[in-house]
């Protein structure tokens, strides 16, 4: 075991993946010599050479198109999009190509070996274009898997699983935690399962569900609630597509209450899907309406970021509302 921050855990996972398989490649804008603007690919070009870890020209659609081709060919591309806010030029290549490659060809071809890594989320005074959480744009796309880790241990295990998963995976990294989140991480190889939620804290009065950096907020709110005598079950969804309805529904069946929180704007966010599914699955168990504590329906602001975000106080208020319903 070693102490690693989230970036080191990512870097370590990439290192293991590149060492084990010569056909694994890491590339993207500034990913090569410099190691990426966040340094997630630091040292990899030195270790594995310029042909396997390299800078690309500045074109996200090109990066993912190139990656799709490599994956179809049998290589194992790990493409980085510098900020999730800049993934949209690649949207067609991801949503119309990566996601549908296997299906449309009757499995004659597939891009299962593709992994797309991208830092997402707010809390870094990044304004409209360095703060977005666009996961829900991808969760409505059959053929993709979508994964978001909450800490260094999860990041390494889930990223290794994503790289080896035989389906295209979009891997969102909570950039606010890149250096802020530090924890014990085994130095050896390990994987965490994609498609399974993780119960971070058991409780009996209400279920709190989130993913990525938002887990910190949920744990903080749960601590406040605990002081107020409310017992929260805190669940990290981890994998958004496919997502673990069973674990969530079991928790809600037990607690009778659910709050879902994400950074993205509320309308059309992935909390809607979860709420819709859970109200159906747990209709007779629910003791209060499912609440969604999310970003407001505006672009991501700068000066009023603090007011905008779904913080622990807003979650705590929702917990009280739900319990007192």
């Amino acid at each position: 075991m070693a102490q690693m921050n989230l970036l080191q855990a990512i870097n370590n996972a990439l290192d293991i993946a590149m060492a084990e398989d010569d056909s694994t490649l890491c590339f993207g804008e500034d990913v090569g010599f410099f190691g990426g603007v966040f340094r997630a690919t630091s040292g990899l070009q030195e270790k594995y050479g310029k042909t396997r870890c390299f800078n690309t020209p500045l074109t996200e659609q090109g990066i993912i198109g190139f990656a799709n081709g490599l994956a179809a060919q049998g290589s194992r591309p790990i493409a980085e999009i510098q900020f999730a806010d800049y993934i949209f030029p690649a949207f067609d290549q991801i949503v119309n190509e990566s996601a549908k490659f296997r299906y449309r060809s009757g499995n004659e071809f597939n891009v299962g070996k593709l992994t797309i890594r991208t830092p997402y989320g707010g809390g870094i005074a990044g304004g409209l274009y360095h703060s977005q959480s666009p996961e829900a744009y991808f969760t409505q796309t059959p053929g993709l898997k979508v994964v978001v880790p909450r800490n260094p241990y999860q990041a390494k295990g889930l990223l290794l699983a994503a790289i080896r998963d035989d389906n295209p995976v979009v891997f969102f990294e909570p950039k606010r935690l890149y250096r802020a989140s530090i924890g014990e991480v085994p130095e050896e190889d390990y994987q965490l399962p994609i498609g399974k939620a993780d119960i971070v804290q058991t409780g009996s009065d209400i279920t709190l569900l989130a993913w990525g950096a938002q887990m910190e907020i949920m744990e903080k709110a749960a601590a406040m609630a605990s002081e107020a005598g409310i017992s929260c079950e805190v669940v990290d969804l981890r994998s958004l597509l496919p997502w673990d309805l069973e674990t969530v529904a079991n928790s809600v069946a037990k607690t009778g209450r659910l709050i879902i929180s994400h950074e993205a704007p509320i309308t059309g966010g992935f909390a809607g899907e979860i709420a819709a599914s859970v109200q159906k699955e747990c209709f007779l168990n629910l003791e209060s309406p499912i609440e969604r504590i999310c970003g407001l329906d505006t672009p991501y602001p700068l000066a009023q970021e603090k007011e905008y975000v779904a913080d622990h106080l807003k979650v705590f208020e929702a917990i009280k509302r739900s319990v007192n319903f």
Partner: protein, 396 residues
Amino acid sequence: MNTNTNSYEKGQVVHTPTFIDGHSVDIPILKILQQDGSVYDGAQLPKIDQTLATKVYKTLAFHRVLDERMVAAQRQGRLSFYMTALGEEATTVGGAAALEPQDMIMGQYREQGALMFRGFKLEQFMNQMFSNEKDLGKGRQMPIHYGSSELNYMTISSPLGTQIPQAAGYAYGQKLQGKDEVTICYFGEGAASEGDFHAGLNMAAVHGAPVIFFCRNNGYAISTPSDEQYKGNGIASRGVGYGIKTLRIDGNDILAVIKAVQWAREYALAEKAPVIIEAMSYRLGAHSTSDDPSGYRTREEEAKWQANDPILRMKNWLLAQDWWNEEQDSALFEGLREEVLAAVKVAEKIAKPELRELVTDVYDDVPEHIEKQYQELVEHIKQYPDAYPVTSGRLK
């Protein structure tokens, strides 16, 4: 009237491959074979012997016949949709003939000629078009979206231009693994306006991918003539901007196509670098069976191009070589027509894919939530078997 389809003719005519390097955009056009079947004086022929030449010609004939028959079948309502490559068959058949079987072919949709040359069987074409259970694509895509991993022909995808950066990546992988392989990537002059074109060509150049970008410039993108598509000198004029070796050829000249692609393959492998070929041709037919070109262009323009038939041109050459005769020719075409008709009749009777194929291949395995949706669907169909006649009968 599309003025662009003629303007490139002003370029110098040459008879051996001549590159546009980074310091010239005077774009010559490569021509080897004249319409009467004679070879230009001093022209350098591609590597081709009688066996290859007859195989190429037979493929062209098959192409022409299949296209004719399937358009007719579509008119009769037996088929939902079809796209011919009338008048530009040489670009794809010639391209495949110049490559090795292990080379990957990525097409746009009008490249059935390349697949034919590779040996995709008549019934395989039919099974795809009739979306039956023998279709390699499991009945999921519209007619003409063929694909075969065995034949290294990437399954066609409707969104335009997406295969261009993919081809760069595919070829890069081939290079990295030290394979004696290249990728050829076909696209239309319309698709070359997509952002993916720019991304793909630049990435291939920067990363040294052995890919042959092959633009079929057939003058139209549906109703849009190429002079409303771009203002440069065709697509070839863009090569210099990417630092990519570029070659313009007469796309109706099968020997020029073969020569150019043979050369490009050698260059791409040896130099680990991409090549662009722009083949000037004309889409003689409608864009697809959903289109009627009489609304946007003249008969005169079409007639001019009808006189450049690439198949007739090759036949004239074969006759001149004494490698072929008129009797063989009639027999070939007649035989093909019968075969195709018979194959239609067989394919349209083959059952549709089983219901299960609706949910396979979304992922490598069927995940739980989709499995559940499938089971609910099965129950539903069992409840209303008459409403879903195609699949209900075969459900267990």
